[in-house]
């Protein structure tokens, strides 16, 4: 997982290495919580959280639960959330679970 805070644009980005599934989502929770805590001060304000899943080919229900929990934290922070995807199967997952109604989906050319 790679993170980057662009204080000029107010975008906090997290890039995942691969699939967001039951075996990868669990270890991410504390890391994301820690990141949010570290970036919640006045000096590190961000208004958009971008989760880059362009390397993922699958997101399962545990992965989706992870996203829902992150989304709730982002909303509590008063910010918005974007998800970057490259794989069409991942895109379809967000559509049939209607998560696209709650956050912005961005198509990435990176496979």
């Amino acid at each position: 997982m790679k993170t980057h805070l662009d204080s000029k644009t107010g975008v906090l980005s997290v890039v995942l290495d691969g699939d967001l599934i039951s075996t990868t989502a669990e270890p991410l929770r504390p890391a994301i919580n820690k990141l949010f805590e570290a970036t919640s001060g006045k000096d590190a304000a961000w208004k958009l959280f971008r989760l880059d899943l362009s390397r993922a080919k699958m997101v399962d229900s545990v992965g989706l639960n992870f996203i829902v929990n992150v989304l709730k934290s982002v909303q509590q922070h008063g910010a918005k959330m974007q998800i970057v995807y490259a794989n069409q199967n991942v895109h379809r997952t967000f559509l049939f679970t209607r998560l696209d109604k709650h956050l912005e989906l961005l198509s990435s050319p990176v496979a």
Binding site: T23, V68, L99
Partner: protein
Amino acid sequence: MMAGGIMSGGRGAMLMLQVIDPISPAKRRHVLVVEDDQVSRTFLRISLQKNGCTVLPVATVAEAQAQLTAQGFEHFDCVISDYWMAENTGLDLVDWLKTKDATLAVIIATGECEKALVAESLRRGVTDFLEKPVRVPKLLAAVTKAVAQTEQHRRLSQSATALESLGRTQRWMVQSGTKALGKLSVEVSFQPKLEAGGDFFGHFQISPEKHCCLLTDVSGHDLQAAYISAYFHGIFRGMLSRSSSLPEIFGYFNDFLVNEWNQAEQLQTKNSFGTSLAAVAVLIDSHQQVANVFICGAPVPVYVSPDGRAQDMSENDGPPLGWFPDIISRSAIYAINGGGTIFLWTDGLADLAIAQQVHPFCLAYALQRAKEQSVRHPLLQEANDDILFAAIQLTPNTLAGELFQPLVVDTYRGDQGGEIDALEAAWRRNLKLALPELGEPAEHDIVLAMREAALNAFKHGCLAAPEKDVRLQINYHRARRVLQVRVEDPGDGHDFDCSAHLQNPAQDLLAAHRGLFFIVHLAQHVKFERNGATIIMEFHL
């Protein structure tokens, strides 16, 4: 022994004949000598005759061809031919012989033993070279070597012919393809490793309502294995027709193997292991709707009900016949109400499946599909044994593709949820092998739904307890092009109103029960049994 002598290159000669080691009349060899120079021809004839050979000397390739054709190729034990002759070379005769009788060895005599000529001659099948002037010891050594080669090639040829004949007989007995068993049918797929081997399948009608299928596999895949397997089928047929029971027949053959065959074999070959025969017999009573299974060392048959549920027909397989004085068989009587399919196979299929890390059913399906298209599946190159797979259709007037055929039947411990990525990789391997045309989106949806159902079973159905099991099955219905996945756990099912929950869209941002939501959206049809402890998903391909 007479003194040595030489033959010149056909340009004048001094004959000094020599007898090295006279050949007895019983071992008299027939040699055809092709030499256009009369002096050389005479030298060769007399030298060989003095050393016990019967020689037919001719002056041209055309004469040689005429004599070989007239007297028969098998009449001669070797040919000695000059290289340079007026109209042809010795290699012309070699080329012609290869098309007529490739077993007959040819020696080429030439005064110009150039390396290129030697290499070209050897490439075209010449046995040996004699450099002119020919010395008698070298002549006799070359003839001895050529005759031995002819004998060896003829023995191999006869063995190959016998093996091909035996293989044809075995394939006829096994009868790959679909056959009627009264109202039922059996589909057999046989992929021998060699020309003939120890895997056999037979079916026997006892009465209009009773049929028996027998599958056998003898240790080794050689002629002896084929012989033993066929012998048992003959005994089985005979004893069955005289109303012997399956334990009596198996017991009789076990006695034969233990007390006669293996003792004699150990005396003759010092083979301390002896011969063993794995066998499974299925006695089907269509009227009573039961199948009686009797197993000794063969893979446990699987019964698949018409709705696709697979069940092992015994807990284990026991040892094969030939190991112990008393047979330790596994038998079971199975209800076959409503039809279904019984699958039998030999361990060659299981061994190749293990090596390829796929399920035997999936491999059998892939091999069968390739065979239907008259293609030899590339995985057969990796097989170390014969492969025999049989599907007995119990549903009247139904063919294999008209019922669910299992591709994967697996049982996982309840605490294997953490291994879900490895399980998913295995499902993908099997799907790619059986249904290579599936495509990425369909594979993604199937595997993701399977993952959700399996995780649900591990977590909620088994509570991650190692003593509990999750059973997962992938079936394919060829006629309907439907892939069915069944996931069963020993739990009590849902503790909530599943249907009401699923009507509630995911936009509530609930962080629970989302797996079920995935399942019903990814599969085209989902059925919950036992309050959700069994999930049956269908995907239309």
